[in-house]
């Protein structure tokens, strides 16, 4: 069990986390070890370190959070901002139009109607360059491609191995949990084994619970290659997959024809009037800066 960190050790770790942005748990263990300056290669227990950092970072609306790679099980960490108010968004590195494009793409990926949490590159370019009534002017296709690359480089988005699909990056999954919970709760899938958000995996058509590919492999290893739903114990054929390039399993609300809620969310993404403002629109606006006076 590691001793409590002194001030310099904690400052070192926090600076490293800020510079690294998103890092694996293994890298985190190694840097904690270097900070304590002992001979062991990696620190075994990191939870006390995480708790100590979070107890002092909370006052500044910062928190160390993690998510699991849904295919490999590798855990990734980031020191994230938990309060998207005017103070933190006032110094965004993005311009007003770039923020609108990022919001459009993140929401577009997350609410993709087949529940695949991905957009083809073609669709991503199309919806991002479409005129948005709240922002004057649009981006060209070339500018949008360049922006998508920038968003991927910054961790908000990612492309799959073939570069054919745009998906959520680690940073979005770790940092935007509150945003998704408040505005898009109906689109959230949790893995029924590890209870973390699932944007790719397999759906049990009996109870509509999802399982990550990594968690499904763990289940199959423990039961001689058979995959049973952790929630209802029914056998899950691996046909009902969702993720980039898969057939997909639509979310429940998308299956209801003319669903008011689904349509109003989709309309808000398109920038159309929705009458009563949905919580989704309010949280989208919190993420956006439309005052370009901070642009340098």
């Amino acid at each position: 069990m590691p001793m409590a960190m002194d001030d310099t050790e904690q400052q070192m770790l926090v600076q490293w986390c800020m510079a690294a942005q998103v890092f694996t748990e293994s890298e985190f263990r190694q840097v904690i070890q270097r900070t304590y300056n002992t001979e062991e290669e990696e620190m075994e227990e990191i939870q006390p370190v995480v708790e100590q950092i979070n107890s002092s970072m909370g006052a500044f609306s910062l928190e160390l959070r993690s998510c699991m790679d849904q295919t490999t099980g590798t855990r990734r960490w980031a020191l994230v901002n938990t309060n998207a108010d005017a103070i933190s968004t006032g110094a965004t590195p993005y311009s007003a139009s770039e923020l609108v494009t990022l919001k459009t793409l993140v929401v577009g990926v997350f609410t993709e109607k087949m529940g695949n949490y991905s957009l083809s590159l073609h669709d991503a370019l199309r919806i991002a360059t479409k005129r948005n009534g709240t922002v004057a002017g649009t981006l060209t296709r070339a500018e949008t491609e360049s922006l998508i690359r920038k968003f991927c480089s910054d961790g908000w988005l990612a492309t799959d191995s073939d570069d054919g699909y745009v998906v959520l990056g680690d940073r979005s999954i770790i940092e935007l949990q509150s945003f998704f919970n408040v505005g898009f709760a109906d689109y959230i899938r949790l893995c029924s084994l590890c209870k973390e958000m699932a944007t790719l995996g397999i759906v049990c058509m009996e109870c509509m619970e999802a399982v990550h590919p990594y968690c499904a492999n763990r289940l199959m290893s423990a039961s001689a290659g058979q995959l049973s739903c952790p929630a209802c114990n029914k056998h899950i054929p691996q046909l009902n997959k969702f993720g980039p390039g898969e057939r997909g399993v639509p979310h429940a609300l998308e299956s209801v024809a003319g669903s008011v809620r689904g349509e109003s969310v989709a309309a808000s993404v398109r920038g159309e009037s929705v009458g009563v403002e949905e919580p989704a629109t309010q949280s989208i606006k919190r993420l956006c800066i439309e005052d370009s006076s901070d642009e340098e």
């Binding site: 001030d7 310099t8 904690q10 400052q11 070192m12 926090v14 600076q15 490293w16 800020m18 510079a19 690294a20 890092f23 890298e27 840097v31 270097r34 900070t35 300056n37 002092s56 970072m57 006052a59 500044f60 609306s61 910062l62 901002n81 309060n83 005017a86 103070i87 933190s88 968004t89 006032g90 110094a91 965004t92 590195p93 070339a142 360049s146 480089s153 006076s293 901070d294 340098e296």
Partner: protein, 271 residues
Amino acid sequence: MEEESQASERTATDLVRYALACHASGKPIRRENLKTHVLGNTPTRNTRPLLDRANTLLTQNFGLKMVALPSHEKILTNKAPTATAATKWVLQSTLPDAARQRLELAQTEDQQAILGFATTVLSLVFVSNMSVPVDQLVLYVRKLGPPQCIATAADTRETAEYASDAQMESAAREAIGYLLRQGYLDKVKLGASGGGEHGAETQATQASQLPTDGGDRHDEGMMYTWGPKARIEFQPLDMARFIATATGQECSDEFVKTIGRAYGSNITASQ
């Protein structure tokens, strides 16, 4: 009184949050933006204590402090910036050197490329008595080859290998423009640079020997020198060590003296 004290602490905490957000974005912390986003209607007399408290919180929790960026006028007249006159700040680490070295702060490939490029360009300015004519620096950067990640124009990024003369010139100017915007370089009029008078005359002689075709007219008589960010982030002795490493030489006292002569001033261990 207690409410006032709690309100001040909240404002100082918000100041820290804003400073960290600017730091993460690679932007300086500007006084006018502090007023807009954090201080609001806070009386001016309270600003100094709030900044001090924010600096204390930054140092205690993050090992960072706000350092005033010298204005362009202060660079040219070599005056130290005063705390009350500062309009821009950046965050600087307060960790001891040994701790920072143990950390091996992670950088992306792009960040490493930009840092390497900026350091090399600044070293060229450093050994030229701290000022280089515009066209001369463009030539240097063309030979150096700017990192691809700086190029924003698709044609300069995608076709570097087969770039025409005009594209290479454009890429070099774009890269120098990037360093200007980041605050690593400053463009000054001949004779107003940080270098000595003798240095400026030497540069003027060199400038007159440069080819004049293709250069912008408004660049005539203009020089590049170190910008405010370079003066905060790079120290003369560190620059001497970098030059020694880059040229494969030992950073002996004699070497430092030689570099100091090119810099235009003695370089001491305390710098």
